[in-house]
Symmetry: C2
Subunit: 345 residues, 2 copies
């Protein structure tokens, strides 16, 4: 038996900003059964996640550089994080009807031939399932390990979050507030800035697009300097932050979305502050910390149920809206976590 | 009673490279006794230390930035690390004839009115006293804490040291070899490169001035990548290193001598490797670690006595040679630790 399977195809390596036309649609068929003893699992994809790191995978692979993740393959479907329901399983740990989150194709059905450390069975279903692309998935874990493990935060410290209304930033801000920090975020529109202040409880927020002098904006928001910077954007913002960091400050480098689409990355000029201020800058990749996922759930689920953590999603309805949603991410069009709904069950 | 006291005067704030003419000489007098109960100590300066960080103190102070150390005062003597003998003491811990290393003026005699955490009594005199400006002083401690505390080194790792024949670099290389690391250094002349390979036991070394492509040079020396970079220079070198770092690599930022004399610091473009490779970059200042000084001596003194650690100094003879020696540091004229002898006892 087969079923039709609509797919989003990655046409070719991208330079500069990705465009809708870098993606194509095709409809193919998928076997609705999996070979016994194969460990394969056939899943129906419900939600797909649009994440900034995906841009890095769209570039031509550079064999000399350690890539964050394998490049996408031209002519093949995009893949990334999603939430899916098991349709057929030859894997001992999964049975028909189970839910999982993890790496799948941008298509209606995916066959997962090898379960890896980026596949997780969903055990808690009394929350919106789409949260497993965000708050309860990779971005949530990113905020959790990035803030608690990399930033070494202490009560009363000052925390700055860039791209603060995004999938990760909105959580970092809330975690920092829960710890008793003073938290300021930046984003690229009035709507997002309002969200930071009214919905996520940031102490202050600013629209970086309206600040002619980013360092002056940071000085205004942090007259006593920044202890912790949660870096999501890079480039000029990092340069301005370096001027405003405090002695023994920490910078967790989660992403540099302002740089991913540039042919030549911005030069950062203020790095000698790393010495003067004894700054620690640390890059991290969430998949190194997935062994802490159940600990994270224990921490975060009660907070969600008690309404102490909120989460805002920007939902694109239908696989055919996928490319536009993904491309929009790099122009800051999303307000909150960008999700694509593939199927309403 | 008074004695004449020749001094090196800092004329005015410096921009760009310092020049001999930025300094002046004067001869004044000093009281040869110290008031009882004052805690003051009169010392005769024997050796003065020329260190790269001193350039940072020559710039006009920027009230908005956390300086590494207080700026020099125009019209006053330079100050910095030195080795001195106590002539008169009203301090309970120091008596006439004692030796100390720490902050003193660039002059024949200094009155230390307040002993601070940058003053250390010298207890071990069976080594060259000038070593207390280098191997057994601030640069030695810098190499020790920078390598063992900041780099988190492991046996078998690859270590790259820039400015490797300098006061700090030559020791980092030797410490790394003692730990069983593969160590490569760079320096700016054939003489220095030879020193690295023949005297300090580096596995390999290159002259950065003769490499048109620094990244290619690093790739040649580190075909399997760099685990640890001990950063002394910054700018273009850091950019090249970022391309060659391994996953989970560490960069200890000790100095950025290539940047101190620039009006506009070089832009560093390859910072997104911090994410891809989960790099930790950490700035440090040795004075934060001076509580470990006696532990350092316990570690290093036996190695010196057994000939397992060697140290090369570049000695300028006479206070009047001081400005030239200090200025030469920023042109890489020194071969090894730059010391100025003020007095032969």
């Amino acid at each position: 038996m087969t079923a039709t399977n609509k797919q989003v195809i990655f046409k070719d390596y991208v330079s500069g900003f990705p465009k809708d036309s870098d993606f194509d649609f095709t409809t193919t068929t998928v076997e609705t059964s999996v070979p016994e003893g194969s460990n394969s699992v056939l899943v129906k994809n419900l939600y797909l996640s649009c994440d900034p790191y995906m841009r890095i995978r769209m570039g031509k692979p550079d064999p000399s550089s350690a890539a964050l993740a394998q490049a996408l393959t031209p002519g093949q479907p995009i893949n990334g994080y999603g939430v899916s329901r098991v349709i057929e399983s030859a894997h001992p740990d999964y049975k028909k009807g189970d839910l999982l989150w993890g790496f799948v194709g941008w298509e209606e059905y995916s066959v997962i031939t090898t379960m890896t450390h980026v596949h997780f069975k969903i055990e808690h279903t009394d929350v919106p399932l789409s949260y497993y692309t965000g708050l309860l998935g990779m971005p949530g874990m990113t905020a959790y390990v990035g803030f608690y493990e990399i930033c070494s935060p202490k009560k009363g410290e000052t925390v700055y979050v860039s791209a603060a209304s995004g999938a990760v930033g909105q959580l970092v801000g809330q975690f920092a507030k829960m710890m008793g920090c003073y938290v300021v975020g930046s984003a690229g529109s009035k709507e997002k800035v309002d969200l930071l202040k009214t919905k996520f409880g940031f102490d202050d927020a600013f629209n970086y697009k309206e600040e002619p002098d980013l360092s002056a904006a940071l000085k205004r928001c942090f007259p006593k300097g920044i202890d912790i910077y949660f870096e999501n954007v890079g480039g000029k913002m990092l340069d301005a932050v370096l001027l405003n960091m405090n002695v023994k400050g920490r910078i967790a480098v989660c992403g540099m979305i302002s740089q991913y689409n540039l042919e030549n990355q911005d030069g950062v000029h203020n790095l000698s502050n790393i010495i003067y201020k004894r700054i620690r800058i640390q890059g991290f990749v969430v998949s190194d910390f997935y062994d802490k996922y159940s600990k994270f759930l224990e921490f975060v689920l009660p907070h969600i149920k008690e309404g102490k953590i909120t989460y805002v999603e920007d939902v694109a309805d239908g696989l055919e809206k996928g490319p536009e949603a993904l491309v929009g991410l790099f122009h800051g069009k999303n307000v909150g976590k960008q999700v694509v709904v593939v199927a309403h069950e």
